[in-house]
Amino acid sequence: MSTTEGAATLARTGWTLGVLGAGAVASVLSSVMLGSVNLPARDVASVFFGEGSALARLLVLELRLPRTLAAFATGGLLAVAGALMQVLLRNPLADPYVLGISGGAAVGALLTMISGLGLAWISGSAFAGALLSTLIVFGLAHGTGSWTPTRLLLTGVVVAAGWGAVITFLLAVRPSPELPGMLYWLMGDLAHARGNVLPWLTLIVIVGLALPLGRSLNVLARGPLQAAVLGVSVRRLEWTVYLLAALVTAVAVTTAGTIGFVGLIIPHMLRLVIGNDQRLLLPASALAGGILLTLADTLARTVIAPEQLPVGVITAMLGVPVFLYLLYRSRT
């Protein structure tokens, strides 16, 4: 009886990952085939076989493919970070930004833009700002002793608000010529995504860690006392998860600005369908988050071409109806 139970779980896992994998491939393909310039599908396909017109090769290989890959990796990172935050804080309303990481990154980037340093500095200081914010929140929450998720959450919310105030101040007092670019970055912008190595490396590593960490996270989700009594080193695991989630979020925000909604909604949606086993939920979130953001970005740059919509608007418009539908169905 239990072998069929095990087999059923394995089958469900395989089926889920298979469907998501197919979705990932489909979303990447459609993103590469569509753009503000209409390229016939055959032309695009021939690029991958080493041929194709010069324009097609240029657009597909230099513009669309890097952007698609960046979108997929960023979406995956945000979804995984959201899942980790929800486990850490034992709160389904947590998202990657609730602990002020995006605020710190934004302040870092904004200061660089204002001081006129080169573009390469922007990514670096965004990352530094994210990590600084992580340390501040962690240090403050730790305070004089025990470190509960509630305390961490409250500290994070306050620090995030503090960063928000700093950002508003900087925008108001020194309106630099980079202002439009900065606003787009704050809304989330894949047009300026730089580099694919770091996001993909981070994504692969974090998904790789899902298996060994996953079961401990499942137990941790039941409460710190219950987890401790079942052999989980609760403090150490919570630190690890927090730092991992912060790192993952920092990489995502540095790549494409603060894209909202993905980190909150994707783990939720998946949980309604496949349950809360983190060993499946984390890789599935990576795939589903990548699919959502890739689709959203494709729409963002084609719907009103040659102009672009902010991608955060599209993720909301795509995600909300699907989520509501799943929620409705799961009532029964």
Binding site: V37, L55, Y184, A191, H192
Partner: protein, 312 residues
Amino acid sequence: MPASPARSRPPRLWWLAVLVFALVLPQAAPAAGGGNISVSDDRGRSVELSEPAQRIVSLAPHLTELLFAVGAGDRIVATVAHADYPDAARSIPRVGTAAQLDLEGLLAASPDLVIAWGSGSPGTALERLEKLGITVYYSEPGDFAGIAADLRRLGRLAGQPERGVREARAFLNAVATLREEFGERPEVSVFYQVWDQPLMTVNDGHLIGEAIRLCRGQNVFGHLDSLVPRPGLETVIAADPEAIVSGGPGEDREDWLEAWRDWNQLTAVQRDNLFFIPPSLLQRHTPRLADGTRMLCEALELARERRAGPRR
């Protein structure tokens, strides 16, 4: 206008031909299409083309204007939203806005030269274009001389060097004329309004600030550090400028000036020194800046006349 290629001459005049050719060649080289065009842009970079650009993409409305001014309008294959002067510019295909470029469309237009706005065009996109080997010219004129320089350089890049030189000279002459007419006039304190919500103005370092100085206006916020300061309403009222000059939400809407009329303790309101100048004549770095500056100088002159006595 290619020079006639050297044809074989009878030997006795051969050395004459070489001499003539040696003298003519340097001036004719760009036109002959056989040599390099090399200019430096407003960032001090060296921009080189092997022949005049045939397919130009301009990344700001005022840059489109500059290109039309040097006779290169027909070579523009793509530009950005709001490029509306001259009328022919409206029909050029768009590739996004100045701040948010449509890179695909831009690349599909196969440009051999891209004119970018130093402070307005997105840096990462331009970086990517340069990495793909596309020649980019950054325009960022800070003063009247800078506009003239841009006219000359764009003329050379677009194969219209003499036209570029001519337009630059005409522009500088117009400015010089204004200096002669108004350069010795008594100062008038003035507030120039760039935007109303929030209230924005310019300081002395701004190009508009320079225009104000030329007309012997004294910008009440000229001393501030920021290029585009945002004073509070109280500060403007306290400064009590003699004249208020503003643009508007459109080329012919004087809404912002009307709003100032409510404050009738202001000198400018009492003397009706509220002057509207279409924004594109002062806020775009083009030859039309001379027209806008003329309007500004005449407005300030009117303000001086009104010092004498009650309103007409």
